[in-house]
C-alpha cells in the first residue's frame, strides 16, 4: 500500500508512529507538539488497535508510562514541547540508564524564535546529556519514515531515541507517501532485569555499558541514509534538520560546496574530521542553539574555519529562515518593498467573554486596596493578564511556579501574596506545591481559574476536571477556605467579597472561579 497524504510534520510523525506499531502515545500538550497526539487520538487504525492516547498529567508522568510500556515489550511514543523536557528530564535521563525493551521514541518540539514559549532551549543537549541517539528529520517525509526507523533503532541498541523537531517542521504541511503498517509487538519481558533496578551496584555497571555504546552510535551516524555527505569544493556546509532545506533553497544543484546533511546524532565523527581536513571553511546551519558549532569549535579552535551562530555569520538567536541562511551563504535577497511603517503590532489577547477576564477585573478591584500586593501567575491563556488592560500579574516562569513562588514570597514577608494558576497547570505541577504551602501554613491566596480545559494549546482534556476542590481538600486545605465562584459580570460583588475574605485569612486559601472556556463552548455548540 502506498498513499499520498498532505500532512503537518506533527501528523506525519503521528502516522509514522501508528504505522510503526505503537501501543501507546503518552503526552502533555504543548505548542508545537500537540497535534501529534491529537492525530493519533483520531486515527482509525490507532483506534482499531486500541492505542492508548489519553493526555497525561505532565511530561514526567508521560515519560514514565512510556517506559513502563517498553518494559513489557511494546512500542511507545512520548511527545512534548521543549520545556516539557525539563519536567520529564529525570525520567528521560534515567531511561537511558535502564535501557528499553520495546522501542521508545521521545519527540521534543523546540520553538526557536519563541512563537509560543518562554525560552529557546535546544533539546539536542538533552539527547547528548542522556547518551541517546537523536533524530532530526529535514522533511515531513523523513519525519514519517524516521519514526519507524527510530523504533527499530531503539530496540536494536536498547536505548530510547530522541526525535527533535522545531516549529517549522511541526507546523508545516507537505505531501507524504505512506507505507504499510507494521504489527504491534507482543508482550515480552526484559532479558536483563537488573538494568531496571538502578541501585548503585547496577547503575555503575550500566553506566559503563551506556558509555561503551557511544562508539557504536557514532558508527551508525556514519552509515545511516539520513546523514549524507557530498564531498566537493573547499567551501563546506554542515546542515542539520530543516537547516538543510534553507541551504538547498539558496544554492543551485550545480553548486560546488561540500555539503554534510545531518539528521542523526551523535555526530558522525569520522565524516566531520574528513570534512574539516578537506574544507577551508565550514558553515554550520542548525536551527536552535549552536549545538554542533560549539562541539566543532570548542574553546580551542581559533582558525576561524568554523562559522555559524557563534561566529556571527548567522544570528545568535531566533529561528533560521531562508533569508538569514541565504545571507550566510552569500546570496542576496530579492526584497523590493520595505517594511511598511503604517503597520503596528497586534498582540494576542484574552477572548471576549472569557472567564479569566472577569477574574482579573475583580482581582484588580480588590488588590487596589493592597498597594504592596504581588500576583504570581503561571502559564496558560491567563498569562495574557500581564498585558493591558489588566496588567494584573507580576510573574510567569514555568508551569506550577505560581503557587510555590507565592509561598516563598509569603515566607519572605510579602502580604498579600497571591497566586493565579489554570486548572491544567494546577494538576500538571501546581498541586505538589500546594502541599508545601499547606505543610508550612503559608499565608497565600491561590486562585485556580478553572475553564474546564487546557485552553492555551487548543482545548485538550484537563486532568483534574471535576476534582479541583477535592484535590485541594485532599492535600489538606481547610474546607472553609476552599471557595468556588462563577466568574460572570453579574457576580462581581460577591467574588470581590470572597477574595477579600480569603486575603484576610492568615493561611492557605484557594478560590476556584469556574466557567467553561468560550472556545470549547462554541465548538460544542457547533457540533450539535
Amino acid at each position: 500500500m502506498t498513499d499520498k497524504l498532505l500532512l503537518l510534520g506533527d501528523q506525519a510523525i503521528a502516522l509514522g508512529a501508528v504505522h510503526a506499531g505503537i501501543s501507546g502515545v503518552y503526552a502533555y500538550p504543548g505548542t508545537p507538539s500537540t497535534e501529534i497526539t491529537e492525530y493519533i487520538q483520531e486515527n482509525p487504525l490507532a483506534r482499531e488497535r486500541g492505542v492508548r492516547s489519553d493526555w497525561c498529567t505532565n511530561e514526567k508522568t508521560a515519560m514514565e508510562a512510556a517506559l513502563g510500556m517498553s518494559y513489557v515489550g511494546k512500542r511507545s511514543l512520548v511527545c512534548m514541547k521543549h520545556v516539557g523536557m525539563n519536567v520529564a528530564a529525570d525520567a528521560f535521563v534515567n531511561s537511558a540508564m535502564t535501557g528499553v525493551n520495546g522501542g521508545v521514541v521521545v519527540v521534543a518540539a523546540d520553538d526557536p524564535s519563541m512563537h509560543s514559549s518562554q525560552n529557546e532551549q535546544d533539546s539536542r543537549f538533552y539527547g547528548k546529556f542522556a547518551f541517546v541517539p537523536i533524530l532530526e528529520p529535514s522533511s515531513q517525509q523523513e519525519a514519517y519514515e524516521m519514526v519507524r526507523y527510530g523504533f527499530e533503532l531503539s530496540e536494536n541498541i536498547g536505548l530510547p531515541v530522541l526525535m527533535r523537531i522545531t516549529t517549522r517542521m511541526a507546523h508545516s504541511r507537505a505531501v507524504v507517501t505512506v507505507t504499510d503498517p507494521s504489527d504491534v509487538n507482543p508482550v515480552s519481558f526484559p532479558k536483563e532485569t537488573s538494568n531496571w533496578i538502578l541501585l548503585p551496584v547496577n547503575a555503575r555497571r550500566r553506566y559503563k555499558e551506556v558509555l561503551a555504546a557511544q562508539q557504536k552510535l557514532e558508527e551508525l551516524s556514519e552509515t545511516t541514509k539520513y546523514n549524507s555527505y557530498k564531498k566537493s569544493g573547499k567551501k563546506g556546509v554542515i546542515a542539520c534538520g530543516i537547516g538543510y532545506n534553507y541551504v538547498m533553497e539558496n544554492i543551485s544543484s550545480s553548486d560546488e560546496r561540500t555539503v554534510l546533511k545531518i539528521s542523526q546524532y551523535p555526530l558522525p565523527v569520522g565524516i566531520v574530521r574528513d570534512m574539516f581536513d578537506h574544507c577551508d571553511e565550514i558553515l554550520v546551519v542548525e536551527d536552535g542553539q549552536p549545538f554542533v558549532e560549539d562541539q566543532l569549535r570548542g574553546i580551542l579552535d581559533c582558525t576561524g574555519k568554523i562559522k555559524g551562530r557563534l561566529s556571527g555569520d548567522l544570528p545568535r538567536v531566533g529561528e533560521l529562515t531562508p533569508d538569514n541562511v541565504g545571507a550566510a551563504l552569500g546570496t542576496e535577497n530579492g526584497m523590493r518593498y520595505d517594511t511598511c511603517c503604517t503597520v503596528v503590532p497586534r498582540p494576542p489577547a484574552l477572548c471576549q467573554g472569557c472567564g479569566h477576564r472577569d477574574v482579573y477585573e475583580v482581582l484588580n478591584l480588590v488588590l487596589r486596596e493592597y498597594p504592596d500586593h504581588k500576583v504570581f501567575s503561571d502559564i496558560g491563556c491567563y498569562t495574557l493578564g500581564a498585558l493591558p488592560p489588566f496588567r494584573s500579574i507580576h510573574t510567569c516562569v514555568d508551569m506550577g511556579a505560581s503557587i510555590t513562588m507565592a509561598k516563598g514570597a509569603a515566607d519572605g514577608g510579602l502580604f498579600p501574596s497571591v497566586a493565579v494558576i489554570g486548572d491544567s497547570t494546577f494538576t500538571h505541577s501546581g498541586m505538589t506545591g500546594l502541599l508545601d504551602a499547606v505543610n508550612s501554613g503559608a499565608n497565600v491566596t491561590i486562585i485556580i481559574s478553572d475553564n474546564l480545559t487546557t485552553a492555551m494549546t487548543g482545548g485538550q482534556d484537563s486532568a483534574g476536571t471535576g476534582r479541583i476542590e477535592a484535590i485541594c481538600l485532599g492535600v489538606g486545605v481547610d474546607p472553609a477556605h476552599v471557595r468556588t465562584v462563577v466568574p460572570l459580570p453579574k457576580n462581581m460583588e460577591q467574588i470581590q467579597q470572597v477574595i477579600k475574605e480569603e486575603i484576610e485569612y492568615k493561611g492557605v486559601s484557594v478560590i476556584v472561579p469556574r466557567r467553561e472556556c468560550i472556545q470549547t463552548l462554541k465548538r460544542k455548540a457547533k457540533k450539535q
Binding site: S116, E249, R336, Y337, T342, V344
Partner: protein
C-alpha cells in the same frame, strides 16, 4: 509552475481553510506543496499568517524568502501590509478592505489606502459585503479565494473541485454555498483588479 503565497489575517478569521483548499487543488494536480502555519499563542486575536508554496518541482524551504512571494492574500488590510517585504516586485495583493480593529492604535484607513495605492498589483474590495449576500460571514474566505483565483494560475474549476473535496463531508448544501461565494468573489475581484 511555481506560486509562493502568503495568507494573512487575524487569529480566528480562518485563513487556514483558504490554505487547505489551494493545497487540496495542488494535491489533486500532483504538484509539490509546502504550507507553514502558526498555531498557539498568536491565535488569540493576534496576527496570523501562513506560507503556502506550490510548485511542479520539489520544494525545499517551508518558508518563503523576502521579495519572492507571488501573492499576499489577506482577510484584513493592515495584515496584508505586514508582509510586503516578502512580496516580489510583480506580486499581487488580494485583500479584504474591511479592517479588523481590536487594538487601540489601529492606523487610519486613509494611511492604509495610501500604501495600497503605491503597490502595482492590487485587488481590494469589501469582501464581507459580498459574503453577506452569499451565505453570511462564514463564506468570507471563499469570496476572497474567488478573487485570488484570478491571479493564482490554478483553473477555477480545479479550485471548485477542491472546495467540494474539503467541504464534502458537510453535505451538498454547504459545498454549493461555498462554491457560490467563490464565484461571487471571482466576479467582484474582476471589477476591482488594479494592475
Amino acid at each position: 509552475m511555481k506560486k509562493d503565497i502568503i495568507l494573512a489575517g487575524v487569529g480566528g478569521q480562518g485563513i487556514l481553510s483558504i490554505a487547505a483548499i489551494i493545497g487540496q487543488a495542488a494535491l489533486n494536480q500532483n504538484l509539490h506543496i509546502k504550507q507553514a502555519e502558526v498555531h498557539g499563542m498568536s491565535q488569540r486575536g493576534g496576527d496570523v499568517q501562513s506560507n503556502l508554496r506550490i510548485c511542479s518541482e520539489p520544494i525545499h524551504s517551508d518558508l518563503i524568502s523576502l521579495g519572492r512571494a507571488d501573492a499576499i492574500i489577506s482577510l484584513e488590510p493592515m495584515e496584508a501590509l505586514r508582509y510586503i517585504p516578502y512580496l516580489s516586485p510583480e506580486g499581487w495583493i488580494v485583500v479584504n478592505s474591511v479592517p479588523y480593529i481590536n487594538i487601540p492604535n489601529y492606523p487610519e484607513i486613509e494611511r492604509l489606502d495610501a500604501e495600497f495605492a503605491k503597490m502595482p498589483h492590487v485587488i481590494s474590495f469589501d469582501v464581507d459585503a459580498i459574503a453577506r449576500e452569499h451565505g453570511g460571514v462564514r463564506t468570507v474566505n471563499m469570496v476572497l479565494l474567488g478573487a485570488a483565483s484570478l491571479i493564482l494560475d490554478i483553473e477555477d474549476t480545479k479550485l471548485e473541485e477542491a472546495i467540494g473535496d474539503i467541504f464534502g463531508r458537510k453535505g451538498d448544501k454547504v459545498v454549493e454555498m461555498n462554491v457560490n461565494a467563490f464565484r461571487a468573489g471571482r466576479e467582484a475581484g474582476k471589477k476591482q483588479m488594479k494592475g
